[in-house]
Amino acid sequence: MVLKIEHVTKRFGNFTAVNDLSLSIPENEMFGFLGANGAGKTTTFRMILGLLEATEGKITWNDEKIDYSTSPYIGYLPEERGLYPKLKVSEQIVYLARLRKMNKVDALIELNYWLDRFKVPEYKEKRVEELSKGNQQKIQFIAAVIHKPKLLILDEPFSGLDPLNVEMLKDAVKELKAAGTSIVFSSHRMEHVEELCEHLCIMHHGSPVVHGSLREIKRSFGKKNLIVNADFDLTFLKEFPGVTKTKTTSEGVTLQIEGEHVAESILNKIAGKGFIRKFVLDEPSLNDIFIEKVGAEYE
């Protein structure tokens, strides 16, 4: 159950939406797609789903082309709400499930399970337009997973949810992954990707700029974060060789440094100058990497 994207390029006229993207997503994996708006994430998803055909390259799942015969095994949560506003929750979930080759009885059983799990059983006979945005998102999620897909594609699954609901959905995603579902998801929220994914890819203007496992990416990024809190003035560290970025906080500074050796020299330099409350060498956050790679215009 491997999803392979090989040298895929998608052009719309003169505009290149995705440029030479190659990825491999093994079974039982959670794969994160990061990128600014217009970076090509949704286009990539649409190509995986077979909604759009790649201009060049190919996408295969278990070495087979993805088409309508594989669609019952694929679940998709689109970025924007994709539900009938006027239909009752039960009607449309059953309809969408039947389109994925599930029968009505099973679909209703699964629907009840998920509604109970998300603590909203009372919404079963309500029309979608009556629900709040967050609750619609839950229904959307149920629509994507009700037929127990082997490949689940989630485009911004956590947007518009309050923290409690984010946790609820995250737990569900983790559980599906543990049950063997391959999951591809995109997000603007770095911490979600950091928490959930082993592998990720950062897209920028259609090209993958960073790609690999989270740990490798962080290691190969090289730079580290150093947090120093002390009772004396630390601003002079800004000029210290090997320091690439400085952020002054109320209690001290957070520095981005080129490697562990820089931390050592800084410690030597400030030792004895006064009381040091905190001296922590930390892995770079995904956020740092993202900003570095994609550009500071995007947070």
């Binding site: 909604l51 759009l52 669609s71 998709y76 689109p78 994709g82 009938y84 389109l99």
Partner: protein, 418 residues
Amino acid sequence: MNNFWVVLSHTYLSKIKTKQFIISTLITLALILVMANITNIIDFFQSDEDVKETVAVLDETNELSDTFKVTIGAINEDIEIISSTVSEDELKKDVLEGELDAYVLLQYDGNNLPKATYYSETLSNSSLSQNIEMALQQLKMSLAANQLQLTPDQLTLLNDPVEFEQVAIGDNVKSEEELNQARGLVYVLLFVIYFSVIMYATMIATEVATEKSSRVMEILISSVHPVAQMFAKIFGVALVGLTQLVIWLGGGYIALRQNMDEMTGGFFSFFGFGNTSISTIVYAVVFFLLGFLLYATMAAFLGSLVSRIEDVNQVIQPMIWLIVIGFMLAMTGLGTPDATYVTISSYIPVFTPMIMFMRVGLLELPIWEPVLGIAVLILTIIVLAIFGARVYKGGVLMYGNSSALKDIKKALQLTKNK
């Protein structure tokens, strides 16, 4: 189950469950039942009121009024004749006050034959005066026959109506009477085709735009091929339309069957329902379905071009105009079904469903004409379906708005890139 059927049955069931469908079907059904029972309803309101008309006769001959009364009674028993002796002024007053419907001044003319003057408030009730004139004519005939001393045989000879027969010499020509009947039926069916095609085509365009604007489309086309989806939708809505038609026609038929006795003649036969030509009904169904398919396909791909439901009306406007023009041509053509412009436009596919149907209903066309029209129509539907499917496939993934023509081009490009 095949996804085509899932979409079809979903479209059908979700449409006939809507309040809008149920209400509009019931209201129209009620209207049909009222129309079918219209004579009963009119009778109901009239039964108690004075259907009898009262006419006073001022007989200056002093001998004709009794015979006149009998003659009138034979013609129309609802006319009550009272012999009057009061003055004309008095009678005039009674007429103006509504006590009398009219009065008649009966006299002898120079030949000692009856003549009369009819006075009433207005001359709008022509059937009353006609009845009286008829009675008077009979009276005069018998008096004149008496004067001429004719035998009853001679009288019968005189009274017998002339034999007059109309024969059309051309082949396959409908008699004037048949033509009038067919005209009524075609008129009604044209309306049905016109309204249903507009209604259901709009329904399809709105449905497609709803799915697009709510982005359900992305989920749908990831599991159903857009072309299969488009046709499933078209046939689903066609079934909704047929359901509605069956309810209406069935209700109307049952109501008419019950009122058959009262309905013979008058309004009923004017519209040609008395001896409905089966072939006209069959052609109506065929042209209704083909017209529906033609416009539904057009509506589906036009609907796929817009991103918001509000824009649907704008984009299907040109299509509605085509239907309206076709309808207008068919309506004006009812009077002159053999005019050249009617013949020509009946072969223009967008007009064929209405105009060719009108021609085939009114004229005795050689069979190749409607067949050729149907063939052209089917060919157009196929071409439009192929073109429409390509636009639809690209269109459903396209958001934002620009001009319709540009959108069609863009949608086709998107499909080609696939």
